[in-house]
């Protein structure tokens, strides 16, 4: 996903000399082609995320579009107040890009698990929150983020859901995408874990169950219409995210449904319920361990469908 991001960023930097790319000393193996072509539009600001976000705000106030990059929690939690007071309150064109959504860096330990970022950043007024599921969405989201004014959080990760865009499909921030049609139930997903939902939908299809799979790549502002339709038109809602149970995609979807007075036949959030993970493992291993993989999603879906 980060390759899709950097390749798109190179195109954007070529078109807009005021686009700047800052990193907090991370991105080895990714940033080099950008640096080679646009050395004056790149800056490694050092391991200093608070300064990076303040700096980004100052640059943005002077007319730059600034991408500020680091790993999950470093460019979000470490400098949360700079994001809130400096960037967001001033409507600055600061684009916070984190690599390592969910358990992307599962083996590196709890410091590198980004499992509360969506909830925390979603709470900040004015901030938009985007979590692409695959390379196409990541590239399209990068362009949309660059061209949309204001402060935006873009969450990248290691896992990549299979490409599935329709010919000529246009990506729009704030608009979800129906990846697969079906009315027996709907899986509303954010991030690469959409790939697990697709696998679960495949397995369910073998039993004759038709699943609507939706990518809600923009968690804020969220696509309320696509959620309401899914609740009204299908047999129930599962939300699927590689994120803690509190405050993320599932919470956002639940809020929409309650606000609209729409009651799906069932509603269940597939999310991390165990709190912090001290277990070591790859992204795939930890998904299975915490009941977030295709088999677990299928089991939950089957359980609800059998109750109806």
């Amino acid at each position: 996903m980060k390759e899709a991001f950097i390749n798109k960023l190179i195109q954007l930097a070529e078109a807009d000399p005021k686009l700047l790319f800052l990193t907090g000393d991370l991105g080895y193996g990714m940033v080099e082609p950008f640096v080679a072509r646009f050395p004056d539009q790149f800056m490694n600001v050092g391991v200093a995320e608070q300064n990076m976000l303040g700096l980004a705000t100052g640059l943005a106030m002077e007319g730059h579009t600034v991408f500020a990059y680091s790993i999950g929690n470093f460019c979000t939690f470490r400098c949360l107040e700079q994001i809130r007071n400096d960037a967001s309150y001033h409507d600055a064109n600061v684009k916070i890009v984190s690599m390592g959504g969910g358990f992307s860096y599962g083996g590196l330990g709890i410091t590198h698990h980004a499992t509360e970022d969506l909830a925390v950043l979603r709470a900040l007024p004015g901030l938009k929150v985007v979590a692409p599921s695959g390379n196409w969405e990541a590239a399209e989201a990068t362009e949309a983020v660059a061209k949309t004014p204001g402060t935006i959080y873009l969450r990248l990760e290691k896992s990549i859901a299979p490409e599935s865009q329709a010919p000529g499909e246009v990506f729009t921030l704030g608009k979800g995408r129906v990846i697969r049609e079906g009315n027996d139930l709907a899986m509303l997903c954010a991030g690469g874990i959409l790939g697990e939902a697709m696998k679960a939908a495949d397995a369910l299809a073998e039993q004759g169950v038709k699943t609507r799979v939706i990518s809600l790549h923009t968690i804020k502002p969220i696509d309320t219409d696509i959620i309401v339709r899914a609740a009204r038109e299908t047999g129930g809602i599962l939300t699927v995210e590689e994120h803690g149970i509190d405050g993320g995609l599932g919470s956002a979807v639940g809020e929409v449904l309650l606000d609209r007075g729409v009651h799906p036949k069932f509603f269940h959030r597939i999310a991390l319920r165990a709190g912090f993970s001290s277990v070591v493992g790859s992204q795939a291993y930890l998904r299975a361990h915490y009941g977030l993989d295709a088999a677990a999603i299928k089991a939950v879906a089957t359980d609800y469908l059998n109750r109806v």
């Binding site: 004056d40 600001v45 050092g46 200093a48 608070q50 300064n51 976000l53 303040g54 700096l55 980004a56 705000t57 100052g58 640059l59 943005a60 106030m61 002077e62 007319g63 730059h64 107040e81 700079q82 007071n85 400096d86 309150y89 001033h90």
Partner: protein, 275 residues
Amino acid sequence: MMTVPDKHRPTTDLARSIRRHVIKMINRGSGAHVASCLSIADLMAVLYGKVMTYDATNPKWEERDRFILSKGHAGAIVYATLAECGFFPLERLDSHYMDGSEFSGHVSHKGIPGVELSTGSLGHGLSVGVGMALAAKKAKRSNRVFVILSDGECDEGSNWEAILFAAHHKLDNVVAIVDYNKLQSIGSIQETLALEPFADKWRAFGWHVEESDGHNHESLAKVLAAAPQIGGKPTVLLAHTTKGKGVSFMENNVKWHYYPPKGAEFEQALKELEG
């Protein structure tokens, strides 16, 4: 167009006016941080009355010098200064800290011409100022960025990230000014978190250091107008100030970090600040 409003007005007169506004504003709204405002009144008067280049009728003029109050709790004196220098009518100061007002105790930019950055949580302003300075270098503009920090604020580690960065990138268009009144929120700097040898710390980080009496207009104007003095190095001015300067009973008394002057104290403060 480039103006410093009323260049003939003595900065001492401007300083007296903004001190009086601050006393009235904080009394009226029962606000706080009156002593923190008085501490930098002379700095503000010299910056806006003599040193900085700006156009009050065009606050976003690209070539202007930028000013950031990183110690955002002294917002009242920024508002007072901007109003005195023609950015908006003086009457607007009456709403400071009142219900429904845009003039919050900690400085806010929304709806207030001339305020570059809203602050209030310490340790934010210098990084943003450094970003503005970097942008000026990239655009080959010659404007400077002045950032006033409090001494207690230098406890915040984020400042030292910005201090490292500005020196590494040779941002000589940044001028940090420390309101060095030796008092922080509930005690002295010395007993809370000692900063000395303070000048040496800045020097060790690669900055050019100036020191001045923070209430001597001639000395402040000389140092600030000359900045940047050393090409390739950001400048810091350690302005030795007295917290509460100008009102005898507020000077060097931490109580006035919080309390608004009321009744006889209010009358006495204004009396001491008469021309």
